[in-house]
């Protein structure tokens, strides 16, 4: 990132919030990347937000603190931000701007790619239909992640979403095919960042991980860049190198707040809760970068993690995310309060692409029916639980009581799992059977008779 021999513009006219107004420029295009050198030392970076005749408005990623009108020199790169892409990223830990944070040299690449990405042609998309297995029972069985899908985790303050994100990032596999994880952390505390690095150490040592960490004390606006770098690196690893890539992005609420901050600084007209009106399109420009392309081997699967402020699912960030993504994994404070990890709410969670990514030849033949039956049974259990709260357990029918038992078995044998416990899909599905067989056969109408025959009799227990 050197200024090289480009023209340095020194005519700083205004400084306002994160915005720098440079006059006297010529040939500077919109969305160009800029490097800003300060006489007081140090370099900062920025993006051109607007260019009006000879005045360019630069959004400074590290903020304008300490900048003045006379000692500031701005060089424009001539193109929107591009980064080197290639396998050189694997095993590297970088800050939110892609600078090494692991003591290594800068990441070099054989080619460069625009961090903004280019939309995948809808007619060239291959509809996703193969699973990414995470080793987390609740996810693999009930909300199966499918290669090329975007499936967010909806969480709230105090819930272990980071633990779950790290566990999924550490354990995920694609049936032995070349795999990689790109993890983008935004606004993480140093403790959280260290937790992520430690939790993913094995994956990093195996050169299957790229880590971008923007911490809570890093420049806020840099967060706007972090997920874009991650996705750009991931797209290359997927569509040029041929790996299946899982991109974990956390926390998207912190990202959206950065977007709101910039929008406010620009004096834009706010929409809901003062978020900019383009929040939907901006989030979509990230989430939609997942997918598969016909005739190419790899895939990009996106797992954004977001915390719902005050647990409110109608807050713009979860709401708009829900409109864009293909389902959601919802973490629940109630399940957490009962001491269960991962605290997944099975009824509120959903993977819309699961139907195509599970079953014979994909996961296991009994998978779709077992998942559907389990959800139906749990829905009934919840109703029974509410009824029991109203009229008392004694007034329940035997079938109802079995549904209460089912909920307990579900929680203890199925849902509950260690944060480093990696379960095979077979194990997870067998556990699902164990839960279902709490009920009588007549209550399992969604399971074909042959499947019931095969699983019902000599039941494996106690693992």
């Amino acid at each position: 990132m050197t200024g090289g021999a480009g023209i340095e513009y020194t005519g700083v006219r205004d400084l306002r919030g994160p915005l720098l107004f440079v006059e006297g420029v010529s040939g500077v295009g919109w969305d160009e990347f800029a490097t800003i050198a300060l006489d007081s030392g140090g370099r900062r970076h920025g993006l051109v937000l607007e260019v009006d005749r000879d005045v360019a408005v630069v959004q400074v990623l590290q903020g304008t603190s300490g900048m003045n009108r006379s000692g500031t020199r701005v060089v424009f790169s001539g193109t929107p931000l591009r980064i080197p892409v290639g396998t050189g990223w694997l095993g590297r830990v970088c800050d939110g701007r892609g600078e090494p944070a692991d003591g290594g040299p800068p990441v070099l690449g054989g080619s460069y790619a625009d961090v903004g990405g280019a939309p995948i042609n809808p007619v060239r998309r291959e509809p996703p239909n193969e699973a990414v297995l995470t080793g987390v029972t609740a996810v693999d069985v009930l909300t199966t992640l499918v290669r090329g899908q975007k499936l967010p985790v909806f969480s709230a303050a105090g819930l272990p979403h980071l633990e779950l994100a790290v566990q999924i990032a550490a354990q995920a596999t694609c049936a032995g095919e070349p795999f990689a994880v790109v993890f983008a952390g935004m606004g993480l505390t140093h403790t959280d960042a260290a937790f992520v690095r430690d939790g993913l150490a094995a994956r990093s040592a195996a050169r299957e991980l790229v880590l971008f960490l923007n911490t809570a004390d890093d420049p806020v606006i840099e967060r706007l860049l972090t997920p874009r770098l991650a996705l750009t690196v991931a797209e290359h690893l997927a569509f040029a190198v041929g790996r299946h890539v899982l991109v974990v992005m956390t926390d998207m609420t912190a990202y959206s707040e950065a977007l709101r901050e910039v929008s406010a600084a620009r004096g834009e007209i706010p929409a809901r809760r003062a978020y900019p009106g383009y929040l939907y399109s901006d989030l979509a420009s990230l989430y939609e970068r997942c997918g598969r392309i016909r005739g190419r081997p790899g895939s990009v699967t996106v797992l954004p993690v977001l915390t719902m402020p005050a647990g409110d699912i109608t807050h713009p960030v979860p709401d708009l995310t829900g409109y864009i993504t293909e389902g959601q994994i919802v973490l629940s404070g109630d399940v957490q309060a009962a001491g269960t990890y991962p605290p997944v709410d099975p009824l509120a969670s959903l993977s819309r692409l699961m139907r195509k990514g599970t079953g014979a030849g994909r996961t296991r033949a009994d998978h779709p029916a077992v998942a559907a039956q389990l959800i139906a049974a749990l829905a009934r259990s919840r109703q029974v639980r509410e009824l029991a709260d109203l009229i008392g357990r004694s007034a329940l029918s035997p079938t109802d009581l079995r549904h209460l038992d089912l909920e307990d078995v579900f929680r203890h044998r199925f849902l509950e799992q260690g944060t480093t416990e990696d379960r095979s899909l077979g194990d997870s599905l067998d556990r699902a059977w164990e839960v279902l067989l709490t009920l009588q056969r007549s209550q399992l109408g969604m399971l074909p008779a042959d499947l019931l025959d095969a699983h019902a009799s000599p039941r494996e227990t106690a693992r």
């Binding site: 200024g3 023209i7 080197p84």
Partner: protein, 169 residues
């Protein structure tokens, strides 16, 4: 990190060619030094790994896995540090090379001043620098054609080829 393309090429290209040639030459020369740095780093890393294997044998399975991961991590950190060192050495060598080239080529500074005036206009005030390069400015605009700036640009242009320093060719 940025792909260079600023449409100022023809004139500057001639100047940069010298820097780039020097960068390529430096890369070749740096390889020998790099080999030394990396050899000792890798030996250290191997030692860490071997120790981990010994420890792992005596410990429980889960503990062993943890130790192994830790060792792999440490070894990788050593390797990365060595690469960073090699890369920094390459940068220093290229900078020195460019300075030397500018010193030897007496007309270089004149040509650099010409480039500066092409970029900024004939009225640009050109300031010679001790390293053989120049800076130039007009109100509101400035160009940095110092030896170091030229060298850094040449290094950037090497791009992924610099990786040959730590990758077997």
């Amino acid at each position: 990190m940025i792909a260079g393309s600023d449409g100022l090429d023809p004139v500057r290209a001639a100047l940069l060619r010298a820097a780039r040639a020097s960068a390529d030459a430096m890369r070749e020369r740096a390889r020998a030094d790099a080999d030394d740095t990396l050899r000792s780093a890798r030996a250290a890393a191997e030692e860490v790994l071997a120790r981990a294997r010994d420890l792992g044998g005596s410990d429980g399975a889960a503990g062993a896995a943890r130790v192994r991961v830790r060792a792999l991590q440490d070894a990788w950190a050593v390797e990365l540090a060595a690469r960073a060192e090699v890369y920094a050495a390459l940068r220093a060598a290229i900078r020195a090379g460019v300075r030397r080239a500018l010193e030897e080529d007496t007309s270089a500074r004149v040509r650099l001043a010409g480039v500066a005036r092409d970029l900024l206009g004939p009225g640009a005030a050109v300031t010679p620098l001790a390293d053989g390069g120049v800076t130039a400015g007009v109100p509101g605009r400035r160009v940095d054609l110092s030896a170091d700036a030229l060298a850094d640009r040449a290094l950037d242009r090497l791009g992924v080829r610099a990786e040959s320093l730590w990758r077997p060719e």
